[in-house]
Symmetry: C2
Subunit: 206 residues, 2 copies
DNA sequence: ATGTGTCTACCGACCGGTCGGTAGTACGAT
DNA sequence: ATCGTACTACCGACCGGTCGGTAGACACAT
C-alpha cells in the first residue's frame, strides 16, 4: 500500500483526534456525536460502528490522553534527583505538555466539574501513584533541608492549579488582560511566573 | 402590593436559589428547566412566567452572584492600605467568600469553560476595574519596596487560580487526598497554605 | 353586596427540533 | 462468499418554548 501504515490517518484515529478536541471544547454533554461525525466526514451510525457508544468513545479519549500525560511525567521524573532543579524540571515538563495540549487541560476541567465518575473512580487510581511520588519527593527534599517546609501535597496542588486555571480559563482572561492570554508568548510568561513564585516560596537562602 | 416584598421566600427568589445550585452543579447545558421547576415545586411553564427564557434566568443568576462577589471585594478593599497585611486581608475575604459559596465558584468555572459570551463580554467589564485596582495596588507596594517584585497581574491570577481550582476540582481531589477536600477543615488548611506560600513568595525579609 | 374587569400565578397539552442508539442495506476489497 | 465500512431510515426520550385556559386576589362602580 502507498498509505503509510502508522500514519495515524485511519478513521478510528481520526475520530479520536476530533473527539478529543470537541470534548475538550464543549464537554461530554455539550458534544453531540453528529458534531464529531460531521467533522470526521462520516455519518453518526458509522461512528458508532467504531465505538459502541458515546461513553465508550469518551472513555477512550480520556484514557488515551492520560496515558500520554503520565508517560511524559514518568519520563521527566527519571534522572538525578537534586533539590529545586529537579522540581523545576518536572514542573517545566508538565507545563510544556499542558501548553502543547490545551484540549487535554480543558478535558480534565470538564471532567472535574461534571464530577465524572470515570475520572474520579478510575483515572485517579492511575494518577495517585504519581501524585504520591511527587509528594514523597518534596517531603524528602524538605527533610534534607533543601526546600522550605510546606505541606507537600498542598504545594503540588498549588503549582498545577495555577497553570491549569490559566489554560482552562483563557477565554475569560481575555477581558482582563490586554494581550491574548493563550498566545505562546503569554503562556511562556505565565509558566515562568509560576515557576518563579514557587522557587522563591520554597527557597531557603534569599 | 399585598405580597410581602422583602419576604425572601417569593417564588422568584426561590427559583433563583435553586437555579444557582443546579447551574453550578451541572452547567447551563446540563441543567434543564424541568430540573429547576421540579425542585421549586412548580411546572416549567410557570417558571417561564417569571423568567422569559432559560438564558434570561441564567443571566439573572450570574449577575446576582457577581454583584455579591464584587460587593464583598469592594468592602474588603476599604480600610488603611498597608503592605502585606492589606493583601492578606483581601485574600482572606475573597477565599472565605469562595468557601461560603462553592456553587458560585463552580458557576464561574462552567462559564469560563463554555467560553460563555455573557461572562466574557459583559461580566469581565465589571470585573476588570477590580482586577486593575488590585494590580495597581500590588505594583505600588512593589515600587515602595514593601513586596518582592513580580508581574502584579500574574500574581493576582496565581493566588485566585490556586483556590478556585481547589474548590471547583474538589470531587477530583477526593481520590488523590485521603480526607474530604471540601470539608471546612480541609478548606481552611488550603486557604492558609496558599496565603502562606504567597506571603513567603512576596516577602523581602526572611 | 354585588357584579365587572384586570392582574398574577399556575397548569396540561402540544410544538418543532435534537439527542443517542438501532435495524437493515449497499458496496468495495480480499 | 465473506467481511469491514459506510449509508439511509427510523425509534423513543428529552429539550426549550408556546398556547389556551383556570383559580384567586384586588379595585371599583353600581
Amino acid at each position: 500500500m502507498a498509505l503509510p501504515v502508522g500514519s495515524g490517518s485511519s478513521t478510528k484515529e481520526l475520530i479520536l483526534a476530533v473527539a478529543l478536541r470537541r470534548f475538550g471544547d464543549h464537554g461530554f454533554a455539550g458534544t453531540s456525536l453528529n458534531d464529531i461525525a460531521d467533522e470526521v466526514g462520516i455519518r453518526r451510525p458509522s461512528l458508532l460502528h467504531h465505538f459502541p457508544s458515546k461513553e465508550a468513545l469518551y472513555r477512550a479519549v480520556l484514557f488515551d490522553s492520560f496515558a500520554d500525560w503520565t508517560g511524559l511525567v514518568e519520563q521527566a521524573i527519571e534522572g538525578p534527583r537534586q533539590g529545586w532543579p529537579q522540581v523545576e524540571r518536572m514542573l517545566r515538563a508538565a507545563f510544556t505538555f499542558f501548553e502543547d495540549h490545551p484540549e487535554f487541560v480543558r478535558l480534565v476541567r470538564w471532567e472535574a466539574l461534571e464530577g465524572g465518575p470515570i475520572l474520579r473512580d478510575e483515572l485517579s487510581v492511575l494518577l495517585k501513584p504519581l501524585f504520591d511520588r511527587g509528594a514523597d519527593f518534596l517531603e524528602r527534599e524538605m527533610d534534607a533541608g533543601r526546600l522550605r517546609r510546606y505541606d507537600a501535597r498542598q504545594l503540588l496542588l498549588t503549582g498545577y492549579g495555577a497553570v491549569l486555571s490559566y489554560l482552562s480559563d483563557g477565554q475569560l482572561m481575555t477581558g482582563l488582560l490586554d494581550t491574548d492570554p493563550l498566545s505562546p508568548e503569554a503562556l511562556a510568561i505565565r509558566r515562568e511566573h509560576v515557576i518563579d513564585v514557587l522557587r522563591t516560596a520554597v527557597a531557603l537562602d534569599h
